[in-house]
Symmetry: C2
Subunit: 141 residues, 2 copies
Amino acid sequence: MKLTSKGRYAVMALVDLAKFNSANPVSLRDISLRQGISLDFLEQIFSKLKRNDIVQSIRGTQGGYILNKQPNEIKLANIFHAVDETVKTVQCKKESKKGCNGKASKCITHNLWDELETHINSFFENKSLEDLLTSNKENRV
Amino acid sequence: MKLTSKGRYAVMALVDLAKFNSANPVSLRDISLRQGISLDFLEQIFSKLKRNDIVQSIRGTQGGYILNKQPNEIKLANIFHAVDETVKTVQCKKESKKGCNGKASKCITHNLWDELETHINSFFENKSLEDLLTSNKENRV
DNA sequence: TTTATACTTGACTATTTCAGTCGGGTTTAT
DNA sequence: ATAAACCCGACTGAAATAGTCAAGTATAAA
């Protein structure tokens, strides 16, 4: 499986957003400056976050984004799923319909990746934005 | 972090090898045919496995490879470490010496990746080749 | 001693993915 | 009006991946 910068940036940006959890929307430009992430890239990311109902957008001047749920309701699993599309373990299933590696049956490691996927997902399912907020109160960026 | 085909093939090949855990060495050609993995690629992989003392090689006709330890002593962590060089989480630390993303301090998600790394490693530390052997007795390839 | 098998090594390459850019929009507060 | 901000799809350079290729060396068996 693979964690991309997109996923990392998404988490960073949402933590940033959550810190300003007022009614006022936060603009991507501000997040871009504070977190050092390209504005264009942020736009791509937030378009996906919005499509997955993690954030809401407010257009026009003074616009920006706000969280669509409480920080404790947003699991990291939701975030990664939103921006990375698939939390994919190693390519194994997609090579053929029946089995793996051109063989007729499942490869001997097939179940292993399923287990791993479950294992990793449980990590992300059990961590929310709020967890990150509290663990980072002291060392703000 | 990232799991490559190299890692997957290494596990597949070693399980294959372990099934023939006799004194006779198994040639890469046989593994290549049985598992559908390019011979040249296998050679690259086994060169690393050998360097990491996971397998032993026997040269010449009738040569091949044998496991260097018992299947229950070979953890998946050892295997991935051998072929993937680093079980790397998302690039964050390497961007700058001090902090992440060009900032002076650690980014807000920094600790998260450390935790994740630990979480994933514990999965691989607790699984040995033998575990895979027994769980695949029924559906052989 | 020849030969075929199999390991050894390093360079090379096509393809894919990643990370980010770019150029155009549309919406809305002031 | 106009400027700030979201919106969207196409594009691109660089890096990583997944191999391939070529030229060896070692050794068992005929």
